[in-house]
């Protein structure tokens, strides 16, 4: 029997938790992941010493500054704000190719129309107040991690203390009552950081008519626009990637539950809040 690490804090129904569980397999490539067969499936990893291995694999601030999406990157002479120029994007693609870096292909794309020089973002890279980039949000998350071992263990156990951060910007759990000021949003920085690495499997591109992120079928504000499965076999990143292809092609092999997004419904055109909750499909 494999030694296991059960992570009740990363549940299959929670989109950010699901992405974070996948992100762990990206950061620690030898790790295999399956989901418990409970009513509320949670991530199970095939490593009893998961915490130590994961903490050792967490990125440093320097790593984040070398990402192709970094606002300022020592490998590029172009700044990369929220809405970069096409020239800057092309230069960052060069960086992405040189450093085998998914951060660009998972957040922004030039697959727009022939007459457009706009770049478009993935639904998993929503806009944030003041044009804060996803890179800046990631850096904030990492800076909030002062005791990685304790915090990773707490996050995986589901007892993490959430912190006042924007995070990736789509966790529905950070959305509070309308009376609470928008700046007062709280996320788990560990989960947000790990979820970003899970986005390695969700590239954004397009069909030459509109931008399409993998697994997304329509506008990110529509109910059911993104669906995802949880599975029974032990699989690593490549197996998960293959299983997702199978699932999004209509297959069910190895899967036992699936969910779809229920997006936060904006209260006015001025409301730029994004958040994806879920509902169970099967």
């Amino acid at each position: 029997m494999k030694s296991e690490y059960v992570a009740p804090g990363l549940t299959g129904s929670w989109l950010n938790g699901w992405l974070a569980a996948i992100g762990i397999t990206v950061l620690v490539p030898e790790i295999r992941l399956r989901w418990s067969d409970d009513d509320e499936p949670c991530a199970v990893f095939d490593s009893a010493d998961l915490i130590d291995r994961l903490v050792a694999a967490l990125p440093t601030i320097e790593d984040l500054h070398l990402l192709a999406i970094a606002n300022v990157n020592p490998l590029s002479s172009h700044a990369f704000p929220r809405n970069p120029t096409l020239e800057a994007y092309c230069d960052r693609c060069r960086v992405a190719r040189e450093r085998s870096d998914f951060s660009l292909s998972s957040t922004i794309t030039d697959f727009t129309g022939p007459d457009s020089d706009r770049l478009e973002h993935s639904p998993f890279d929503p806009s944030a107040p003041k044009g804060i980039t996803i890179h800046e949000r990631l850096v904030s998350c990492l800076e909030a991690i002062d005791d990685p071992t304790t915090m990773v263990a707490a996050s995986l156990a589901g007892r993490a203390r959430r912190q006042q951060l924007n995070g990736l910007g789509f966790d529905y759990r950070r959305i509070l009552a309308p009376t609470v000021p928008r700046a007062n949003v709280y996320v788990d920085p560990i989960v947000e950081l790990l979820a970003f690495y899970g986005m390695a499997l969700i590239p954004v591109r397009g069909d030459m008519r509109r931008t399409r992120a993998r697994g997304w079928t329509k506008s990110s504000m529509k109910r059911g626009a993104f669906t995802w499965p949880v599975w029974m076999p032990w699989i690593g990143t490549a197996g998960i990637d293959a299983l997702l292809d199978l699932y999004w092609s209509g297959g069910t092999t190895g899967m036992h539950v699936a969910y779809s997004v229920v997006p936060y419904q904006q209260r006015s055109t001025m409301d730029s809040t994004r958040g994806f909750a879920s509902e169970r499909l099967s």
Partner: protein, 896 residues
């Protein structure tokens, strides 16, 4: 091995004349230093001979050990004009034929050397293939060590490079990718038409899994764990050489020199005069004006002449053709939207001296000829007209169009008329036609637009920079996963042609009977049945018809599926009910409602036997037992005598030259021929179906002993691997994979399906296609079951029992992927039923409970790891060696 003949001797043996100085100089440069990045030789001076240079250069390295060779084995001649593909492939066909049966001398020595490079696997010195929409779409070199010339359009080549080969089943995409992406020379003619392809090739290396890793945290992938490349030297990546008459000067460019400019033939061609005048008209009167100019030219000439009319759109071509005076001249229309048999008729006429207008034939013609064409005739076509009448166009297009006038400098009377619609909206060429018109206003008309002066008069082309998305490793990884094509993956065409408003194309074929969704597409669609059509027009056409009158061919090519018109994608293959029309003698014609001729009976020599077709054949009603007998013919019910009699009876009918029937034959006649030939044709179905790799599970062939088959495939695969130049480690792995690949067929259910006699274990057997499904169900072989999974389970057990296998992961992958699955997913059956299977491997008795419902969850990781080790194309090459060895051995068995 004898001495290598000089290029001059080789060229002279091929062409019967000496090469131009630049051709010999290029050959010597290639042999010494490799290929330049660009060859800038004006049109009409024999750029296609770069193929000869490539063949001779390859032969020059035959005395080296395979890993030491630096010049690529496969030569892709790629150009974005179908006619030029055809012209080049006619040349390469001739070259291949000459080398197959060479006269003594230079040709014999080059042939001998090419056979040496081929490794003696088939003994064929050179294969010649043509790949373009609407033509041969399923051809490929027989194996990766086979010297070959593949003449192809840009989408056909580039889609193969990106694991999306248009016109092929997804099971064959990896093989096609290997044959396009590694050990290849790409002679990209008219490279200015294909800027996205140039950029794509440039980025492949940095996006390959061996450089960039797959699905890893940034910066964590370290390449170089395995062999850096399977093949060293210049063959690991495509060598791209741009051939362009209208390129830009650069240090890397190979150009004419003084020797060339002093050459009398070159001099004559470069100084050919082309007096050009201009006629202004309106957009509404465009077709009428063009037709009038063409008719006037014919009327003015004392002797019959050849007039070439160029227009910018197929619809204009149809309009002009309908207005021409057909009493005064023969009229032909050639657009890129004809089916191959129909286009072939036109092309043959165009290239026929006396009636057509081939360059180099000044003989008196009996009747004038007016050819109305679109861009399809612009580039490179070796035609020579007395008069060109052209709609104004972009500078590059006009340079090419004028290149078909007085091409060899032998027609001093030649003239050109440009017809300019003054009020036309900017179209295909933007505002360039108007700019050209303004520049010509500054000249005294008529003005000579000969090759020496045309660029200075018309000015620089106003090229629109194509919008090409950046290729990233994530895009490429999605393309490489071919067994379950990634839904919504980036469209390959964006990297091939850019993101444009211009129409991408789909292939359309017309059938009399539409298979019901999910039912096998039978007979398989022949290459010549397709017409290549702009996607927007197809979508519009389909939206006007019921959903059950058309369907898209599935990715594996075995059936059709119902989809929404908006979901039709570039490169898709659409089957349309012939009764709804959409095609006429001019080619694709969405306004035509006349039933379209179904070419399948003639091209596939196959029709489906049904009660009604049999009734028509025999001229009487049949009772049930007769229908059953005739629709279920197989080895047991038809003796050779009966088969011979049937064949003899209908052979005469089938003597009809199918291409001639294309668009002109009476449809009823065609249908009658197809139906009457049915019983005999049924036997040809076996031949036809064998081409579909996805159906290879059905193993239709002469009965073949399993272990004998495995041994032979192992041996052939290793020979190919060594001829390609792989190292010992990979050559052994390929050999092992090939000798284990079909072990799973030893399953008793599979053997029952094949109808194996007691005591025999078969790899393949012959079976009437109509009985496949019934036989499978009766044998208990589960639906969708893959014997590759069982091969893997037996292999694992064999390794446990001590059978020695080096490179286990690679061998496992090659076994699992030998029908195109396992990249990364191998299908499983829904029915769980483990079955004990026994085989003998290297003297070890291996028994395992094999189960086709047991998924191999390690395969995706294995696939990723091997892609990172060998690169996407490197792994595809290893797969191609095993799979094509299997195909070669199976084909050889059939011949025996």
């Amino acid at each position: 091995m004898g001495d290598l003949p000089s290029f001059v001797d080789f060229y002279t043996a091929v062409h019967g004349r000496a090469p131009f100085p630049w051709q010999d100089r290029l050959a010597r440069q290639v042999a010494a230093d490799g290929w330049p990045t660009e060859i800038g030789v004006p049109t009409g001076l024999g750029k296609t001979s770069a193929i000869d240079v490539a063949i001779w250069g390859l032969a020059s390295q035959a005395d080296r050990a395979a890993p030491e060779r630096t010049l690529p084995t496969r030569i892709w001649y790629v150009v974005n004009r179908r006619l030029l593909v055809d012209a080049a492939s006619e040349h390469s066909d001739r070259l291949a034929a000459l080398l197959t049966d060479p006269p003594a001398g230079p040709m014999a020595e080059v042939a001998h050397r090419l056979r040496q490079i081929e490794g003696g696997v088939t003994g064929v010195p050179l294969r010649s293939l043509r790949l373009r929409g609407g033509a041969v779409m399923s051809g490929r070199p027989g194996h990766p060590a086979q010297p070959a010339v593949v003449c192809s359009t840009v989408p056909m080549f580039a889609s193969r490079l990106l694991f999306r080969s248009y016109g092929s089943s997804n099971r064959m995409w990896p093989v096609d990718a290997a044959l396009a992406g590694i050990d290849t020379l790409v002679l990209l003619d008219e490279a200015h038409l294909s800027i996205p392809l140039v950029r794509l090739v440039d980025k492949l290396d940095s996006c390959d899994a061996s450089s960039a890793g797959v699905l890893r945290a940034p910066g964590t992938f370290v390449s170089g764990d395995g062999p850096a490349t399977l093949i060293d030297g210049g063959r690991a990546r495509p060598t791209l050489v741009s051939l362009t008459a209208t390129g830009t000067e650069s240090a890397e460019r190979f150009d004419l020199d003084d020797d060339d400019l002093r050459h009398p033939v070159v001099l004559q061609r470069l100084s050919a005069t082309k007096p050009t005048s201009v006629v202004d008209t309106t957009a509404a009167e465009l077709a009428k004006s063009i037709a009038m100019e063409a008719d006037s030219a014919v009327a003015r000439s004392a002797a019959p002449i050849a007039v070439l009319v160029f227009v910018n759109r197929p619809s204009t071509a149809r309009d002009v053709a309908s207005r021409l005076d057909r009493h005064a001249a023969d009229v032909m229309v050639l657009t890129g939207q004809l089916r191959e048999p129909d286009a072939d008729v036109v092309r043959r006429q165009l290239l026929t001296p006396g009636t057509g207008l081939p360059a180099g034939h000044l003989a008196q013609r009996e009747r004038s000829l007016v050819v109305v064409a679109t861009q399809t005739l612009e580039v490179g076509a070796d035609l020579d007209a007395d008069v060109v009448v052209s709609e104004t166009a972009g500078v590059r297009a006009l340079v090419q169009r004028l290149g078909r006038l007085n091409r060899l400098g032998e027609r001093p009377h030649a003239t050109c008329v440009l017809v300019h619609p003054v009020d036309a909206e900017p179209g295909l060429y933007g505002d360039e036609p108007a700019q050209v018109r303004r520049r010509l206003e500054e000249c005294d008309l008529p003005v000579d637009l000969g090759p020496a002066v045309i660029r200075s008069i018309l000015g620089a082309p106003n090229d629109r920079e194509p919008v090409v998305p950046e290729l990233l490793p994530a895009h490429l990884w999605e393309f490489a996963k071919t067994s379950v094509p990634v839904p919504d993956a980036a469209p390959a065409e964006a990297f091939i042609e850019g993101i444009t408003d211009d129409d991408h194309t789909v292939s359309v074929c017309w059938r009399r009977t539409m298979p019901v969704g999910g039912e096998p597409l039978y007979p398989s669609i022949a290459d010549g049945e397709w017409a290549e059509v702009p996607i927007r027009e197809v979508r519009r056409f389909l939206s006007q018809h019921d959903a059950n009158t058309w369907g898209r061919v599935t990715a594996d090519g075995t059936a059709i599926e119902q989809i929404a018109g908006d979901d039709v994608r570039p490169g898709n293959r659409i089957v349309v009910d012939a009764s709804i029309g959409g095609y006429s003698c001019s080619g694709w014609d969405p306004d035509s409602t006349t039933a379209v001729v179904d070419l399948s009976p003639m091209l596939t020599k196959t029709v489906e036997l049904t009660r009604s077709s049999l009734t028509e054949v025999l001229g009487r009603q049949l009772d049930d037992s007769e229908v059953e007998l005739l629709t279920d013919l197989d080895d047991e019910t038809v003796t050779p005598d009966i088969e011979g009699a049937i064949g003899q009876h209908f052979a005469a009918v089938l003597e009809v030259d199918a291409p001639e029937l294309g668009c002109t034959a009476d449809r009823a006649t065609l249908d009658r021929i197809g139906a009457k030939a049915a019983p005999w044709l049924r036997w040809q179905a076996v031949e036809s179906a064998r081409r579909v790799d996805a159906l290879d599970e059905l193993s239709i062939a002469t009965s073949v002993d399993l272990m004998g088959h495995l041994g032979e495939v192992g041996s052939v695969a290793e020979s190919i691997a060594r001829a390609v130049g792989l190292g010992d480690r990979e050559a052994r792995a390929v050999h092992d994979a090939a000798r284990f690949h079909d072990l799973g067929k030893a399953d008793v259910r599979f053997q029952r399906w094949l109808g194996a006699p007691t005591g025999q274990v078969l790899a393949k057997s012959r079976m009437n296609p109509g009985r496949w499904r019934q036989a499978r169900i009766a044998a208990g072989w589960p639906d969708r079951a893959r014997h590759e999974l069982l091969s893997l389970q037996l292999l694992d057990r064999a390794i446990e029992l001590g059978v020695s296998v080096d490179q286990v992961d690679l061998v496992r992958h090659l076994v699992g992927s030998h029908h195109g699955h396992g990249r990364p997913w191998i299908d499983i059956s829904d029915v769980a039923a483990a079955m004990p299977t026994r085989v003998s491997i290297d003297g070890v008795e291996v028994m395992a409970d094999t189960d086709t419902s047991q998924a191999d969850w390690d395969q995706p990781e294995r696939f990723r790891s091997l892609c990172e080790q060998y690169g996407l194309w490197g792994l595809a090459l290893l797969e191609a060696i095993v799979r094509q060895a299997d195909h070669l051995v199976s084909a050889a068995t059939e011949v025996q």
